[in-house]
């Protein structure tokens, strides 16, 4: 099943080659120097896409855990903190949040007497991490709650405190269940990082847009763009499966 989209793309490409009036592959023809330059320019955005995705995911994985823990409290007031954060952040579409962070947040900082400029790079990372953290928090919560209550009780009876119980007993068991959906979220971040193009991040999508403006070949260039994301996501998927095997997430318990 995973080969189907590839197959469709191949067919599109072949039919395109046949009738040169609709397709103009010369813009990204690696045998010509101009084509090669264009390809280099497009793929050159890969580093930025990967970098903002990885940093945003790292922040989100940490932040998500911090947000998830209050949800497990026995006190309603503490649980409420989690609920408000998750419901609020989860309901903001990514693009408006990006605008708010990039154009609005510096004004908030300024009013507080802080001079913190937010460049496109950090604007994108903050937005992606914040937006994603609400989802990772829910993943953590579900994973931790799936560990039987008796595990916490046993940990308490051998004198472990809250942090030790989480660190040595609950999280190591939960992480095996959490990893697959967390990896899913990482793929989501990689794709959502395309929004960073609108605030001027030189990542994959921005570069494709810029090339389209000069070359007038949207079909070919955006096709290559899609393939770039496809390759990126397939590499991540393979990495995740390797990690799952190593941590035993693929085993049934």
């Amino acid at each position: 099943m995973r080969r189907v989209p590839l197959l469709i793309l191949c067919l599109l490409a072949l039919s395109g080659c046949a009738s040169s009036s609709t397709w103009g592959w010369y813009v990204i023809d690696p045998t010509t120097s101009q084509g090669m330059t264009n390809i280099r320019f497009l793929i050159g955005g890969m580093g930025q896409t990967i970098l903002i995705s990885v940093i945003a995911a790292a922040i989100s994985i940490f932040l998500g855990l911090v947000i998830a823990l209050p949800a497990l409290s026995e006190r309603r007031g503490v649980r409420l903190i989690n609920r408000i954060y998750v419901e609020f952040i989860r309901s903001i579409p990514l693009l408006p949040m990006l605008f708010w962070v990039f154009y609005g947040l510096p004004i908030v900082f300024k009013s507080m007497g802080l001079n913190v400029p937010i460049d496109p790079f950090w604007g994108a990372i903050i937005t992606l991490a914040l937006s994603d953290s609400a989802f990772t928090a829910e993943i953590y919560r579900a994973g931790i709650q799936s560990i039987a209550r008796g595990q916490t009780e046993a940990a308490q009876t051998i004198g472990l405190n809250y942090v030790q119980t989480m660190r040595y007993v609950i999280l190591p068991q939960a992480i095996r269940r959490i990893l697959p959906p967390l990896a899913n979220q990482f793929i989501y971040i990689v794709k959502m990082s395309a929004f960073a193009s609108v605030i001027g991040m030189q990542e994959l999508t921005r570069r494709a847009n810029e090339l389209v403006v000069t070359e007038y070949r949207p079909l070919e260039i955006y096709t290559l763009l899609i393939l770039e994301y496809l390759v990126l996501v397939l590499i991540i998927s393979a990495g995740v499966r390797w990690l799952e095997r190593r941590m035993g997430s693929d085993e049934r318990t």
């Binding site: 595990q151 009780e153 940990a155 308490q156 051998i158 004198g159």
Partner: protein, 246 residues
């Protein structure tokens, strides 16, 4: 009567509107073995779980070794450090080896070095007669072996009191005796124990005091000789006739 290891005075607990424990008075002396029995839902597990604050009580006093159990973190920690617990479902940590299950508490909660903790773990594994299973995971052991590891895990904390919450109820019949044998040995060594169980043979052998509970109340207490021969209350007689007829 030796010093009281555990004292419960007028303990009451509600789950919402449901009155699970009604004026529980129970004193367990040092080195004493108390067996609690009663029909399911009678509150016997809740009594045990209140002693180490897995459940909180709303009224009354619980003292362990003269430390009163309150909401204060210090009081809860102090009491848990003296009270070990063995669960019906074992509750071993499945991602750790037997050895790691046993050394986790001593190393993290008591600050023992790995070498000290492992030495202690080997001692108690030998005591529950499974020294050869140290490197296995709980999932690779039989139920009886798992419960013996759970007992060893509690012993590694060197508690003054051990609580057993239906320790053999989740076991296949042929594995019950290997767990009970270990418990009898502990009793003979003078461990203070509160055991919730339906194993009346075990109760006769080791109990100093029998407690019968029904509907959240302690209905009857007494030494096993009187308790089994001549139960005073009708509810207790009925219960015993049901579980002893086979």
């Amino acid at each position: 009567m030796p010093n009281a290891a555990i004292e419960m005075i007028g303990v009451n607990k509600w789950f919402g509107d449901f009155h699970v424990l009604k004026d529980i008075d129970l004193t367990v002396g040092e080195g004493e073995r108390v067996v609690i029995c009663g029909p399911s839902g009678s509150g016997k597990s809740t009594v045990v779980r209140c002693i180490n604050r897995l459940e909180s009580h709303q009224k009354g006093t619980i003292r362990v070794d003269d430390t009163e159990l309150t909401d204060a973190r210090g009081s809860i920690d102090a009491i848990r450090s003296e009270v070990g617990m063995v669960f019906q479902q074992f509750n071993l940590f499945p991602h750790l080896t037997v050895m790691q299950n046993l050394t986790l508490g001593p190393m993290k909660a008591r600050g023992l070095s790995r070498a000290e903790a492992e030495e202690r773990a080997r001692k108690y594994l030998a005591r529950v007669r499974i020294p050869e299973q140290a490197e296995k995971r709980p999932g690779q052991l039989s139920g009886g072996q798992q419960q013996r590891v759970a007992i060893a895990r509690s012993l590694c904390m060197e508690p003054k009191v051990l609580l057993f919450d239906e320790p053999t109820s989740a076991l296949d019949p042929e594995m019950i005796s290997e767990v009970l044998d270990v418990m009898v040995e502990l009793a003979e060594e003078g461990m203070t124990m509160i055991v919730v169980t339906h194993e009346m043979g075990f109760a006769r052998k080791v109990a100093d005091q029998m407690v019968f509970m029904d509907a959240g109340e302690i209905v009857e207490t007494g030494p096993p000789s009187e308790f089994f021969a001549a139960p005073r209350s009708a509810r207790c007689r009925e219960f015993l006739s049901k579980i002893l007829q086979h």
